[in-house]
């Protein structure tokens, strides 16, 4: 499903080079739920950014669904992210001027018509809205379709973010500390959703520093100083 080989990432600031990832070998099979843990600055978020094609690694390989993703051009990566990946950001990353439904339907509109061609545009548009509503129903926000993000609680915003990520049926769902900004109750709801998705066969890779939520994953990969230090099945 997704694999990295000898993945490195360095940042250069003037004469100083910081090696954040130092040859990471990582593998996730289809349907797996993996939690990546590590102390602050260990490189766990950086690893997630490389695997999710949001950033370019310094060296190494990223293979997603059999494709060598690290060689893709920027436009190709954008389209790949649109069609194959879902993201849940720590700070929800919703667009403030779009309603709940519009936030979720936007990537569907982008990908739906592109896949089907202009002739089927209207059907695709209707289908996109149906799928967006279904995704919001799945995270129990069917009653909040026309609210702006500013009118939602943090937990609700994160659930919209999850709905947006799963609406397009991605092959991998990436989540970067999805409960970091939430209270216990909201965090529990979010993790329940992740577990349900996992049960339905969704591949999930989640970065977290909270052990209680990491334990809900199938596997915990611990990173320290840019290297994988353990890979434990729960």
């Amino acid at each position: 499903m997704i694999e990295t080989k000898q993945l490195t990432k360095s940042f250069t600031d003037g004469d100083k080079t910081t090696h954040v990832l130092k040859g990471i070998d990582f593998k996730a099979e289809q349907g797996e739920f993996i939690a990546i843990m590590g102390r602050s600055g260990a490189g766990k978020s950086t690893l997630l950014y490389q695997m999710s094609l949001l950033d370019d690694p310094t060296s190494g390989e990223i293979i997603i669904d059999g494709k060598h993703a690290h060689n893709m051009q920027s436009e190709e990566k954008t389209e790949f992210r649109l069609k194959k990946c879902g993201y849940v950001f720590q700070d929800y990353a919703l667009l403030p001027e779009l309603t709940t439904l519009e936030n979720v339907v936007l990537p569907l509109l982008m990908s739906g018509s592109a896949r089907s061609g202009e002739a089927r545009e209207h059907m695709e548009k209707a289908e996109a809205y149906t799928r967006a509503k279904n995704a919001l129903a799945k995270v129990k926000l069917a009653h909040r379709l026309n609210n702006l993000p500013s009118q939602l609680s943090g937990g609700e915003q994160q659930r919209v973010s999850i709905a947006r990520a799963i609406a397009n049926h991605p092959i991998i769902l990436f989540a970067d500390e999805p409960t970091a900004n939430l209270d216990n109750e909201s965090s529990a709801i979010v993790m329940e959703i992740f577990q349900e998705l996992h049960k339905e066969g969704q591949t999930i890779i989640m970065v977290t520093h909270e052990e209680q939520y990491a334990k809900l994953a199938q596997k915990i990969v611990k990173i320290d100083d840019g290297k994988v230090i353990s890979n434990i099945k729960n």
């Binding site: 950014y49 949001l54 950033d55 436009e75 954008t78 389209e79 992210r81 649109l82 069609k83 990946c85 993201y87 950001f89 990353a93 667009l95 403030p96 001027e97 779009l98 519009e102 936007l106 990537p107 509109l109 982008m110 990908s111 018509s113 592109a114 202009e118 702006l148 947006r164």
Partner: protein, 417 residues
Amino acid sequence: MSIILNIKIGYFLAWRQIRRANIWTTGLIVFIMVLTFLNLVVVSGILVGLIEGSIAAHHEQFTGDVILSNLDNKQYIEGSPNIISIIKNIPEVAFVTSRFSTGAVLEANYETKKDTDKANTASAQLIGINPSAEDAVTGLASHMLEGQYLVPTDYDKVLVGSFLLAQYLSFDSPDLTSLKDVYVGTKIRIKINGITREVTVKGILKSKVDNISRGLYMVDSQAKDVIGRQDGNVAQIAVKLKPGADPLKVKQTLLLAGVDKSAKVQTYIDAQPKFLKDIIATFAMLGNFLSSIGLVVSSITIFIVIFINALTRRKFIGILKGIGINGQAIEISYIFQSVFYAISGSAIGLVLVYLALVPLFKSHPIDFPFSDGILVAPLSGTLIRMGLLIFATIVAGYIPARMIVRKNTLDSILGRN
């Protein structure tokens, strides 16, 4: 990804961003665009309008639609009565007026002048008219500042142009001589070819057409005596046509009748003084130059507005790219926003120009010494300027959006430089 899809997504994003933006911010940007549009259209329109006002006055108050004048080597139009008869038989002609004209020296205060005093004189053009015919063609009676208009029975009475009187001459020029202490009822002397005649000022004319404001008007039957011409040959014949008639066609008819053998035949456009035509060209150029500056300023304004907007939304642009929205769609969304600002501003500007400013300037022209300035804004020219503004705005909106969209996706999301 197809361009059409990117346009649709761009529109989806732009419309929602505009609709849910702060209304005061949007209002301010649109207001700037309105001012820019007005700057583009009104500045050059007023500059050209100053001269257009002068030309219109010259047309309406002096030349009429077609004017015939003496040939350069003659003092009058030979066979004037015959020519007037030809003119009156042309179906398009509504009214005709003929004018005797000659140079004269006016003198005032001669009764109180001491031998050592300099004579109070002024040079003027004496114009003999049929009062009712002249009024029908040029509306001369409507330019009375003081006193009364002439009637055919007026004997030794004149109308004096206000620029011949010191109290109405707002500027002091050594080239312009004027009469002091001359009012309605004052007696003045007219000297023509050694003949002196005393006349009474019946009225004072005020117009921004020099020929009127520096003219001395007298009933034609009297003027013939003063000038010494009894053959009925006049110096000018001004013709007013029926509404919708083509002056050029009437000119052609007169030329075909051979009138050009004894008179210069001109439409009101031909008769425009050359300096006015030159000023129009210069003012139009100046107007375009000022408009260009306005266009650059508006482009920079939109650039800054969109750049700040895109910069403050950099994180969201990063998120859009992160969730797979094509960069081109994001750029297009900013172009749509720029177009919205430009079209909104221009539309309000159009309404202001055509429903408020043009009628306002028409009813309350700008009072310039040489013309009543109006606002000239032909629709075709205005639409071209509007197109230029929209184009400049698109470019000014696209460049900053592209600059931000091209930044690294993750750097944008995390706010890293």
